[in-house]
């Protein structure tokens, strides 16, 4: 059994009155910066009180049959205030909000054929209550603060099995019908750029996974690979929506998605001086909602998911010299690469593709050198990321650093 109590205090101060250009000349007045054209000054502060409890127990019916139960609880209470109390976006945050979640699970595990076949069935219960507020139109002329209470209880179940064909080959198979409940940030926002999302529904999905991994070893070489495929039907995907007209965003549900894809990774090692590994992931995530909530045909039915890459890959070659400098330390050098295929910010099928907003393909190269000494108690790493200084993005037009070089020194007092 494990329990944690957390308390978090945070404040967002947004009291700018002037705008400046790069020459530090005042170019205009402003009333705060957050919330785009609806910006108003704010000194919003909030306090989160979070309690978490995890309990596990298991009982071995016999050496091959085990019964296990687990329970986890996570509760967050948020209170907020704003000394300036003008910004509309802070209004829902000033009233107390809370979100409580629990997951109770019961599983039954079996092992047969000299533990070559391990299987598990499980059932889960997901409980969720949330009290939030929304500042919106209700039954009057103007917006007002509306309390919003959400309660939900869902059941899920699944099956997983893995079979070790021989010492180097493992086959895995699993199916799960599950629920994902919104966490604190998703439901309550982050207190500034992410607003609360009172209407957020629980995400439900049916997942099917199958995979195989194999390894081969000779006296000097070691090969291994892992190949996996997945198929997933998701309802009400919880997703951070793009910024709205006011420059803020909030989590929202995407009604119905179908995802298919696979991962492939391979590793090679020769003696102790060479390691090569690579991985590639492909996913095809599509909107499967035929009609939208008002009954109209969904224009983006069967469209690929917006703002989500389909193809990603990475690779690395690492050379090691374990007894460099007369056996007093170890030296290693690596060169690696990361690749993310470009994707559109909005639904790919809408609009002219040549003028659509796009997160471009990113192809980065990195390298580094590490020296380890004092019996691994200390290591010094010199690393250069984005060697060719390519333009890369974390999100749409949100730039990540270009080429940068870092020196990292780490020392363990106890190793």
């Amino acid at each position: 059994m494990y329990g944690v109590l957390n308390r978090l205090e945070a404040q967002t101060t947004d009291t700018s009155s002037r705008k400046y250009n790069w020459a530090q000349t005042i170019i205009g007045r402003t009333a705060g910066e957050l919330n785009g054209i609806r910006a108003q000054k704010s000194e919003y502060q909030f306090e989160d009180r979070n309690a978490m409890l995890i309990a596990n127990s298991s009982y071995a019916l016999n050496p091959n049959h085990t019964l296990a139960a687990s329970f986890s609880y996570n509760g967050t209470n948020r209170t907020g205030s704003d000394a300036l109390a003008t910004a509309e976006w802070t209004i829902p945050f000033r009233e107390p909000q809370h979100v409580n979640r629990h997951v109770a699970a019961l599983s039954y595990q079996t092992m047969f054929w000299d533990e070559k076949l391990t299987s598990m069935v499980f059932v889960k219960n997901f409980g969720y209550t949330a009290r939030t507020n929304v500042y919106n139109y209700n039954a009057g002329q103007q917006k007002e603060l509306i309390p919003y209470l959400s309660e939900s209880n869902k059941w899920g179940a699944g099956f997983g099995s893995k079979y070790r064909i021989n010492t180097g080959t493992l086959v895995k198979l699993s199916f799960e019908n599950t629920t994902r409940m919104p966490d604190g940030v998703e439901l309550l926002g982050n207190g500034n750029t992410i607003l609360n999302a009172p209407g957020l529904r629980l995400e439900r999905s049916s997942n099917f996974n199958i995979g195989i991994s194999q390894s081969f070893r000779t006296e000097q070489d070691k090969w291994s690979y892992e190949l996996g495929f997945f198929f997933r039907n998701t309802r009400d995907l919880i997703w951070l929506g793009e910024g709205d007209l006011y420059g803020t965003s909030r989590y929202e549900n995407i009604d119905k998605l179908r995802s298919m894809g696979g991962d492939f990774s391979v590793r090679y090692a020769r003696k102790k001086w060479l390691e090569i590994n690579g991985a590639v992931t492909y996913q095809d995530v599509r909107n499967r909602q035929r009609f939208i909530s008002n009954g109209a045909v969904n224009l983006v039915y069967n469209d690929r998911m917006k703002n989500m890459p389909s193809l990603m890959a990475n690779g690395e070659v690492r050379l090691k010299y374990p007894s460099a400098f007369g056996g007093h330390g170890g030296l290693s050098f690596y060169a690696g690469t990361d690749y993310v295929q470009g994707f559109f910010l909005s639904w790919p099928s809408l609009g002219n593709r040549s003028t659509k907003k796009k997160i471009p393909t990113q192809f980065l190269q990195n390298t580094g050198l590490t020296y380890t000494m004092l019996q691994n108690s200390m290591n010094v790493s010199l690393e250069c990321r984005n060697i060719f200084d390519r333009q890369v993005y974390d999100n749409f037009l949100l730039q990540k650093p270009g080429r940068f070089i870092s020196l990292n020194i780490r020392y363990f007092l106890h190793n």
Binding site: K19, G28, T30, Q141, G247, A296, L299, L350, R353, T355
Partner: protein, 412 residues
């Protein structure tokens, strides 16, 4: 090289002679064969995604944004000459798109609003053929907002400044919000509304507008009328127009869910060359449509011969402002001379369609996108009755396609 220079001068001379020889010959210019007429339409496609795309006709065919159109964000549009302007709110860019004779549209330029006016260009106005006047202010403007004049030809800011709008320090929660305006006889006449943030209600005592000296943009004067209680010239709807004689008509919205407190909505007139509400003129659309409907006039477009088309929202079908997204809006034909209303027999739709309809070749065009049903551009004939309309261009996506703008591409 020398031969090339000589050839160049010969060619230049021939071209120059050709240009200068027909410079003042207007008959020659008119002989240019007009290109086929195209139109530009902007609409919400799905969720928060908005696109601008050209179409060949407003009366037939289908518009789809599948693989077609420019991405756009914002709800304030203006078209003038061959240009469409849009205030992109997240990026705070005022974008100029050029509509071309070949039926295409492309972004030509943009102005960042920072440093021009506070916040963004909220009020977009054409003051003469070569000049736009934009205004912007903070939500809590404390009586000071910004203005800028923009030259159409090179899309640059000619001049800018601040102007005074009503503000009472004893009532700091009451703010004047900018609306649309027009210039006439050296005056800029500006609509807008007053809103009380503490009571969360519109403040309406009669109907008010502001008058400034133009182009100085100073010497503010508040003009008012007690013919009705409401607000004129809402900023992102088509709320001001003028007739053949140059008289100006302001939409006055008095709805309990739209810039008023549930009074009589309609049309107020400011006669050409004057800077006062015409004390003899109020067209009470709410009563003419039927008091039980609680109709609030949202916008109008003048067609000709005293006829305008507009849109009302039936507030008896609404319980909050949110309901404007439901089928509560109706097209009406207004005879501004006889003050009679013809309620057209078109389907109800959300109110979004009112933003920027089009009058073209003496016909009125607007999008009607009833919730969950097929959506079309409708053509209205001012000469007929309540059934004098026809469905035109179909809008792929049905009820979600809320048309924001319809504009004609140039043909020459």
């Amino acid at each position: 090289m020398k031969r090339s220079i000589i050839n160049f001068w010969i060619l230049f001379s021939i071209v120059s002679f050709g240009l200068f020889s027909c410079k003042d010959d207007s008959n020659e210019t008119e002989e240019i064969t007009p290109a086929e007429q195209h139109f530009t339409i902007s609409a919400w496609a799905t969720g928060s995604e908005q696109y601008i795309a050209p179409v060949r006709s407003l009366t037939e065919g289908k518009l789809t944004f599948k693989g077609n159109g420019l991405e756009a964000q914002g709800s304030r549009y203006l078209w003038h000459k061959q240009y469409v302007y849009q205030m992109n709110l997240p990026e705070k860019k005022f974008i100029q798109y050029e509509m071309k004779t070949d039926g295409t549209i492309a972004q030509k330029s943009y102005i960042l609003t920072d440093g021009v006016v506070p916040n963004y260009f909220q009020s977009l106005n054409v003051v003469d053929d070569n000049t736009l006047l934009v205004l912007g202010g903070l939500d809590a403007n404390k009586g000071q907002v910004g203005w800028a004049r923009i030259r159409v030809a090179d899309f640059s800011v000619i001049d800018k400044g601040t102007l005074t709008v009503p503000y009472d320090a004893a009532k700091p929660d009451v703010t004047f919000y900018l609306g649309r305006g027009f210039v006439d006889n050296g005056k800029f006449i500006l609509g807008g509304y007053f809103y009380n943030a503490s009571t969360r209600a519109y403040v309406v005592e009669g109907t008010k507008a502001l008058v400034f000296d133009y182009p100085a943009m100073n010497n503010m004067k508040v003009i008012s009328t007690n013919l009705t209680n409401g607000s004129v010239g809402y900023d992102y709807l088509h709320t001001v127009d003028k007739d053949e004689e140059g008289n100006h008509y302001f939409v006055v919205s008095s709805g309990k869910y739209w810039t008023g407190n549930g009074g009589k909505s309609g049309v107020l007139r400011i006669k050409k060359g004057t800077a006062e509400f015409d004390p003899t003129y109020f067209f009470d659309v709410t009563t003419a449509v039927g008091v039980e409907n609680e109709a609030c006039l949202m916008g109008i477009n003048y067609v000709g011969n005293g006829i305008a088309f507009g849109t009302v929202q039936y507030e008896n079908k609404m319980t909050s402002v949110r309901d404007r997204l439901n089928d509560v809006a109706q097209v009406v034909k207004l005879n501004l001379n006889t003050k009679t209303v013809t309620v057209m027999n078109t389907p109800l739709s959300p109110v979004g369609m009112v933003r920027s309809p089009l009058v073209f070749n003496n016909k009125y065009y607007t999008g009607i996108s009833s919730v969950g049903k097929e959506a079309f551009i409708y053509e209205f004939d001012p000469a007929g009755g309540a059934d004098s309309f026809k469905k035109g261009l179909a809008l792929d996506g049905g009820g979600y396609m809320q048309v924001q703008l319809i504009a004609p591409n140039p043909t020459k």
